[in-house]
Symmetry: C2
Subunit: 145 residues, 2 copies
């Protein structure tokens, strides 16, 4: 069993955050001894899942829902699995979005490299047909390949 201070160090999370999570119902089976929280293996594992679900973009109230499912036992396995499948899909979608963002950022890096070499954006701008960065991006991609 760990105290809140130890758990705080273990996870690099402020104590206030752990108390906040508890208040929000993220540790449904957290025990106390004379008012003091006793973080057991259940809560440690819960925190690992919380970190994962948070990183996946899930809100606290939905993480709470998941923790409740866990507390309800084997009858909720299917629901829990579905939840993870949904999170997986969400993260995959986010990664696609970020890849597109990354492409645009790479293009912009190239754009300013070129502008610095040229000393102006004139040549670059003359390459753009009618304010269509999608098109110039294609030019850029072709130039790279």
């Amino acid at each position: 069993m760990h105290t809140i201070g130890r758990v705080s160090e273990m996870f690099g999370l402020p104590i206030s955050t752990l108390r906040y999570y508890d208040k929000e119902g993220l540790f449904p089976s957290l025990q106390r001894r004379s008012g003091i929280r006793q973080f057991g293996e259940t809560e440690i594992e819960a925190l690992r899942v919380i970190e994962c679900l948070k990183a996946s973009g899930l809100e606290i109230k939905d993480i709470k829902r998941f923790m409740q499912l866990c507390a309800e036992g084997p009858s909720t396995y299917a629901q829990r699995r579905k939840m993870f499948e949904a999170r997986k899909a969400a993260v995959e979608a986010e990664m696609c979005r970020l890849q597109k963002t990354l492409d645009m950022l790479s293009f912009k890096c190239w754009y300013y490299e070129t502008a610095i070499e040229d000393g102006s954006e004139d040549r670059l701008k003359s390459m753009i047909p009618d304010g269509l960065p999608v098109e110039i991006k294609r030019l850029y991609d072709n130039a790279r390949s």
Copy 2:
């Protein structure tokens, strides 16, 4: 030149958001005619960059800073390039983080698939040495390869 309503449709952004962006200084050279905003090609391109920088996780106040650099002319090319390089690095880091999250989510999907097949988590839990999902994840990865 476009009205705020047209731009709203073009980008799928609420009018209130466009006004908010303007108020925050994201269109430093936006013109008006008798009080009404005139969105020109400059602002349209600005919005494309805004969407990109927002997707990269940049805050509005820092996007404003970038737009100000743009309005200052060629002397800020180097700063602008540096900003895009930094954004690129941030997005790459975020994608790494998401990849790790995805790995954990995939593991959890497999975990619950297995738990459903088994009808309980008993076998799975007996595979875990001492509450270390990192270890079981390694077992899982080995099983996959």
